[in-house]
């Protein structure tokens, strides 16, 4: 699946997007965040406070308990500040 990062999540991870193939036991957004946080210093920093980071599955807002099976694209970003 493609994983995209925006704003300070992107800056901390150090890349805008990547293709990832997480282990089969990673079932939810919450699981994916916990797994990502173990992938290096930048990831750990980006997800140090997982309650803050928002997510979207296939361009729709998703909650932490949303299942990721079949997702083509998952995005992580800070709370939005548009408008």
């Amino acid at each position: 699946m493609k994983v995209r990062y925006f704003a300070w999540v992107r800056e901390r991870v150090g890349k805008a997007e990547e293709d990832l193939d997480p282990p089969a036991e990673i079932a939810t957004v919450h699981d994916l965040v916990a797994w990502l946080a173990r992938q290096g210093e930048g990831y750990a920093y980006a997800f140090e406070n997982p309650g803050v980071v928002r997510s979207a599955i296939d361009k729709r807002h998703a909650r932490a308990d949303a299942r990721i099976a079949g997702a083509k694209e998952i995005a992580f970003f800070p709370p939005m500040t548009g408008g």
Binding site: P79, M80, G82, G83
Partner: protein, 169 residues
């Protein structure tokens, strides 16, 4: 009904957009135009500009979902939303919401609803480019704007949210 959702780097002309929405129609009795403008200060500190990052493929879809929700909720005859991204200088417009209806109540309410949801749900992130202030900040230093709890409560008052999936936890 007429719907326009547009993301663009360049400035917009609010009067032109409002005129385009109502052109040639005699059923529209009320047009509300809201423009969000870049201020020259953030938290009392002077800024040089705002830089807006966005999630291109999602932003249009997300705004479109809220426009759809507004049409379901009020008797609207037209909605236009224009949101800019990239570098925006103080005094320039950031976002434009135009709503049209037969009567003013629906147009006012829908414009406010759309703005409240845009601020909290549309995937845009503002970064302040500092102009150098009294606290010794460096000119050009870039700081991400933090989301405000007051914006969340402004959006919450329209609950129930359009759909459960559109509400981030």
């Amino acid at each position: 009904m007429t719907t326009t959702v547009r993301l663009q780097r360049e400035p917009f002309d609010a009067a032109k957009e409002a005129a385009a929405l109502a052109r040639g129609r005699t059923d529209i009795g009320a047009v509300v135009t809201f423009t969000g403008i870049c201020r020259a200060d953030e938290n009392g500190e002077p800024i040089a500009a705002l830089n807006l990052e966005h999630y291109p493929d999602m932003a249009e879809a997300e705004i479109g979902r809220h426009v759809e929700a507004a049409f379901k909720r009020w008797p609207l005859l037209g909605v236009s939303v224009v949101h800019r991204y990239g570098r925006i200088a103080p005094g320039e417009g950031i976002v434009l919401v135009v709503t049209a209806s037969s009567h003013r109540q629906a147009a006012f309410a829908a414009a406010e609803f759309l703005m409240d949801y845009l601020k909290t749900h549309a995937p845009f992130w503002k970064q302040v480019e500092k102009a150098g202030g009294k606290t010794g900040d460096k000119t050009g230093e870039k700081i991400w704007v933090e989301a405000k709890a007051s914006d969340d409560s402004a959006a919450d008052r329209w609950a129930p949210a359009p759909t459960k999936r559109e509400t981030a936890s």
